[in-house]
């Protein structure tokens, strides 16, 4: 008896040793490439460092003070939230509508899924350039050519201070709604068929089924999509950089999101400390949203 327990004990010891061996390199990676840089970013945000001058001064909250009086920062923050507030609800609504109808067709489901989902997995850079070309003025741009062919006035799209952001947003929604559709569809399929059956026996019509069974039971799916979507739209960058003149988020910063301002501050103006302060702001916003998700989903359970 004692013999067996000591053997088991030594086996457990051996397994522990293996576990630590397997985890050494990964832990070094996570500490060195994830945690240390995170703290480093916080630290940088309290310095005036730019990569050109070699000396770095600790300046406390000066970067954050400067941010508060930086008009471009507020403009980019406003733009970022405009992307979130318009883009997310529209792509959620379209994604749900598609999922609802694709769920009800008996043949061709996978073809429809593919058609709507493909934009989501393709390169955003490629997609942004295709759309940039579609938005060009006549004689190049397809949209304006179509407008002319229909006898309608041409539009400036990306050249206009008021139309540029909605134009980029349209591309973003187009690329994004397939994701919402796939998740909604999985959510709908996970609802027990007996519930729909019971509702039908009770004589509920389609609208009643939708509002009293499908939508309420999709609440966890919607919370998930709302949170992940908010974070995705907050991080908009690639499409704006590739669809605006010289990647500057113009005209006149009208489309520039926070991440693009971070990028240009850090890697065009080399204001590393200042840009780091902005990444801290982004981090805090994302942290708050993640915490909200944790609280809400905990209440759900």
């Amino acid at each position: 008896m004692t013999n067996i327990t000591t053997r088991q004990y030594s086996l457990e010891r051996k397994k522990q040793r293996y576990a630590y061996t397997f985890l050494i390199i990964p832990m070094l990676f996570y500490i060195g490439i994830r945690f240390y840089p995170t703290f480093y970013a916080f630290y940088l945000s309290f310095t005036d460092w730019n990569i050109v001058s070699k000396n770095m001064h600790f300046i406390g909250l000066e970067n954050y003070r400067r941010l508060i009086s930086d008009e471009v920062f507020w403009q980019t923050l406003k733009n970022t939230f405009t992307y979130v507030i318009w883009g997310l609800p529209i792509s959620l609504l379209l994604g749900f509508t598609l999922a609802y109808h694709i769920d009800r067709v008996k043949v061709g489901e996978s073809i429809y899924k593919a058609m709507y989902f493909v934009p989501y997995i393709t390169s955003m850079v490629a997609v942004a350039w295709v759309w940039r070309w579609l938005y060009q003025p006549v004689p190049i741009g397809v949209f304006n050519n179509l407008l002319t062919a229909m006898g309608l006035p041409t539009q400036p799209f990306l050249m206009s201070k008021t139309q540029a952001l909605p134009s980029i947003l349209a591309t973003t929604i187009w690329a994004d709604l397939g994701f919402q559709m796939i998740i909604f569809l999985a959510g709908i399929k996970a609802i027990s068929p007996t519930l729909f059956e019971a509702a039908r026996i009770d004589g509920a019509n389609e609208r009643q089924v939708l509002f009293s069974i499908t939508l309420p039971l999709l609440k966890p799916t919607m919370i998930f999509l709302l949170i992940t979507g908010t974070i995705r739209y907050l991080r908009i960058f690639t499409q704006v950089m590739n669809m605006t003149f010289q990647g500057e988020g113009g005209p006149l910063n009208s489309t520039k999101p926070l991440v693009l301002y971070i990028y240009t501050s850090a890697f065009k103006s080399f204001k590393m400390g200042y840009a780091s302060a902005m990444t801290v702001v982004l981090f805090v916003i994302i942290l708050i949203i993640t915490l909200i998700q944790m609280v809400v989903t905990r209440d759900e359970n």
Binding site: Q16, Y20, L23, M115
Partner: protein, 273 residues
Amino acid sequence: MKTKRQIQNLIRHILLFIFGVAMLFPFLWMIATSMKTGSEVYTLSLFPKNPSLKNYVRLFESGNFPFWFLNSMYVGLVVTLSVLFFDSLVGYTLCKFNFKGKKLIFVLILSTMMIPTEMLVIPWYIMSTKVGWLDTYWGIIFPGLMSGFGTFLMKSFFEGVPNDLLDAGRIDGLGEFRIWYKIAMPLVRPALSALAIFTFIGNWNAFLWPLIIVNQIHRYTLPVGLSFFNGEFQTKWEMVMTGASVATIPVFIVFLIFQRQIVQGIALTGVKE
């Protein structure tokens, strides 16, 4: 009543199909234009009169584009192999072993998913300048060697591997590394292929970090090259569309082959990259 439902269904199909084609319209236009030459580029025809692959030939013969393509392939493959190896090893360890600090390590790895890449790129860049990783493949690759998401995914899949099988391996005298590699890994193959597809596509499309770390034009990845394409080709839109097609078509092919795994994987985890 039955005919009413049939008509409803037909309308549903027609609308889904029309909107679906509208969704694909930018891609159709992109591919059509990539096969046009000369003055036909700016005509509104979806079917080129003399479709040719001349633009593709020109693209692959021109200086840097082949490098970009190969760089993206190389980076994507190395990162994917590394992620498959480490994420599954760590996920397995966190699932099947008991040791002090296990919970803490798991929570720490999970919490890295909350850190936005945008916050890390500035420190990564500074670290890279200090150790000379600018303009190197290693510089592009190192931040993606492991992922919290993949570890989490693999851990939850290893839960389904019965411990008895692993113990049987121990009785047969296999070492722990071999038990993982020979017994556990083959049982989670679907999860591995899903993780591989996501990781490769994510890296194939990755833009922000390669844009920052690479300055020499022959070290660009495909997305970075595409974004500076106009400079190289002087707004020759048919060439831009050809480049965009080359970036897009491999993903289409992967998607068509692995559609089921991709859709299931996305639905299961709901996360990209």
